[in-house]
């Protein structure tokens, strides 16, 4: 059974999604989906252990060897990503049963869980596969289910947001398709590692340059890198809370993974970073993204909007670390992937709890909530501190390595700008804290009770993870370091 782990990771939720229809009772489906997620979670842990112990696992689908068939190639990088996605997917789903009772119609519940599992399948598929075209197929599974999930939101703006996301996402996917097509045309293969060896001969051609450009632009659309982020804020703000928590913690991470995978593994470092001014372009976009998004976040009235813009800023940090192009920089990016998933998962879930109790996440509705929902609000505070990067939280760890990486590479201005960006985070987090703790409850509103335990448990799991991995950094740093070193070809 151990040999089949890579494929089970993807196939288990894939088979479970249609099975949901046969159960057709909201609570039963929830329990079923939760079990399935937990299985994938265990599966990914086993995979990670296996990969750390014995190196890359290759799984040939259909028994056909690599360039002819499709292969799954699990190395440290994607084992790490699989673990992040499956854990967040499980923890967030725990609160789903309570949350969607308020936010969705009864007859949509089964469909919701099906879509959720399919979305999970899509992400696993993107991350696990070693075949360029297979990436496109699974990208579409995860995107289509994401559009539908966002469109489930009660607010009519959710529909418009989903439509915009659909247009942008499909343009992005088509760009990726064009890029893959050109690569295939020049090399005659679709397998990633095979592409890597064969691209060396044709690396100088204009077609490969254009293919590279299209792939990067397509991925950046999915990544919501500034200035291609326009679809993101509304999509996150009006989707059902569970969907927001899930997508915010995972979807952009998968896109970052794709960026790393294509530039490092397929094209190779020397091509990606020397033949094009990619490094400086992405560095500038990342920095501008951090500032533009953080400043916009300060002026938002909807707390989900604040956090959505903050997500765009965090993507900026990841891109900065990536474009420093050293082993430490990529490691900082990977750490931030992990940490940001913990923070945003927790924060958006807490917002889901607020949504559940008062039916709105407008900033002024938060007045006085600090006393009425103490556990939820303190979770938001800790999550916010982590977002800022205060010591003893995970946010500090990744920012620290980001600083170290930029200083090591001699990029002092970048380090200063990163620190300034964190100051902006203080401002927007403070606005929430001020409302919740230093304002009297909104007059005319009925007393609000603390969130139900089904919310508190997953929220606090994530909050504790925020603190735990902020203090005991061995696990996350070790894995991220090993993954980034293997990308740079350094043997630990």
């Amino acid at each position: 059974m151990l040999a089949h782990l890579p494929i089970l990771q993807v196939v288990v939720p894939l088979i479970a999604a249609p099975l949901c229809w046969f159960l057709n009772r909201s609570k039963l489906v929830w329990i079923f989906a939760l079990i399935v997620c937990a299985v994938t979670c265990v599966n990914s842990i086993l995979l990670l252990i296996e990969v750390m112990k014995s190196g890359t696992i290759i799984y040939e689908l259909g028994g056909w060897e690599a360039p002819w068939g499709i292969e799954y190639r699990i190395d440290k990088l994607n084992a790490f990503l699989l673990l992040i996605i499956s854990t967040i997917g499980t923890v967030v789903l725990f609160a789903a049963n309570t949350s969607i009772q308020k936010e969705l119609d009864e007859d949509r519940h089964t469909l919701f869980y099906s879509l959720y599992l399919l979305s999970l399948t899509g992400m696993f598929g993107i991350v696990a596969t070693g075949d360029a075209f297979n990436v496109f197929v699974f990208l579409e599974i995860s995107s289509l289910s994401a559009y539908a999930l966002i469109g489930l939101g009660r607010d009519r703006r959710a529909l418009w947001a989903a439509y915009q996301y659909l247009i942008m996402g499909t343009i992005g996917a088509t760009f990726i398709l064009i890029g893959i097509g050109m690569l295939y045309q020049m090399t005659g293969t679709l397998n990633m590692s095979d592409l890597a060896t064969r691209l060396v001969d044709v690396g100088h051609t204009r077609t490969v340059f254009v293919a590279f450009a299209f792939l990067i632009v397509g991925i950046c659309l999915k990544l919501a890198l500034f200035p291609l982020h326009l679809w993101l804020p509304n999509a996150y703000a009006y989707a059902p809370s569970i969907v927001t928590a899930f997508l915010a913690a995972t979807a952009t991470k998968v896109a970052v993974y794709l960026l790393i995978r294509f530039t490092f593994t397929v094209f190779g470092i020397s091509f990606s970073f020397t033949s094009l001014p990619l490094q400086s372009i992405l560095m500038v976009l990342g920095l501008v993204g951090v500032f533009a998004a953080s400043i916009t976040a300060i002026y938002q009235q909807n707390v989900k909007h604040i956090l959505a813009y903050s997500s765009i800023a965090q993507v900026g940090y990841m891109i900065i670390g990536y474009s420093i192009n050293t082993s430490t920089g990529v490691m900082a990016t990977l750490l931030h992937l992990f940490n940001h998933a913990l923070m945003k998962g927790g924060l958006f879930l807490a917002l889901g709890a607020v949504m559940y109790r008062i039916g709105s996440v407008q900033l002024k509705q938060f007045q006085g909530l600090g006393r009425e929902m103490p556990l939820t609000m303190s979770a938001i505070v800790i999550g916010g501190l982590s977002l800022i990067g205060v010591p003893l939280t995970v946010g500090f760890v990744s920012k620290w390595y980001l600083l170290v990486a930029s200083v090591e590479a001699g990029m002092w201005p970048v380090a200063v700008l990163i620190l300034l960006g964190s100051l902006l985070a203080i401002v927007y987090i403070w606005r929430i804290v001020e409302m919740a703790y230093f304002k009297p409850p909104l007059p005319g509103r009925e007393a609000v009770k603390e969130a139900p335990w089904t919310f508190l448990v997953p929220i606090w799991i994530l909050v504790f993870a925020n603190i735990y991995f902020g203090i005991d950094t061995r696990l996350s740093v070790q894995v991220a370091q090993a993954a980034s070193q293997s990308l740079f070809g350094i043997n630990p």
């Binding site: 539908a148 529909l159 418009w160 499909t170």
Partner: protein
């Protein structure tokens, strides 16, 4: 040289027509039509890549030794399916948008959103 590449250029032209419709048009249905054209042109690009001069359709038969490349065909079969799936979902969204906003024009929807944002 120009003769050897003309097919690609026509594909690029078609691609750009579709792309222009997607980003410039305000009507949501037309955007989807543009998206379809954009995607189809990519399909044509793939098939063009797989074409072999004097080759025949990739179904094994006696007396034929040159076949065109089957792999792009397979990829595009998959991509066509993905395309129709996207279109169907997009149209479903448009129908819901029409019901919720009473129109399918981008400007109009944004205006209405602005209004409701100001109210809240």
């Amino acid at each position: 040289m120009f003769l050897g590449l003309y097919n690609y250029w026509i594909v690029v032209l078609l691609m750009m027509i579709g792309f222009y419709i997607v980003i410039a048009h305000g009507n949501l249905v037309k955007k989807l039509v543009g998206l379809t054209i954009f995607q189809t042109s990519v399909f044509i690009f793939y098939i063009t890549v797989g074409m072999v001069e004097r080759g025949s359709a990739p179904i094994i038969a006696e007396g034929i030794s040159d076949y065109s490349n089957p792999l792009p065909h397979v990829l595009i079969l998959t991509a066509i399916v993905v395309g129709i799936a996207t279109t169907a979902l997009g149209l479903a969204l448009v129908i819901r948008i029409k019901e919720a906003y009473g129109c399918v024009e981008e400007d109009e929807i944004q205006k209405q959103d602005q209004l409701s944002e100001d109210e809240s």
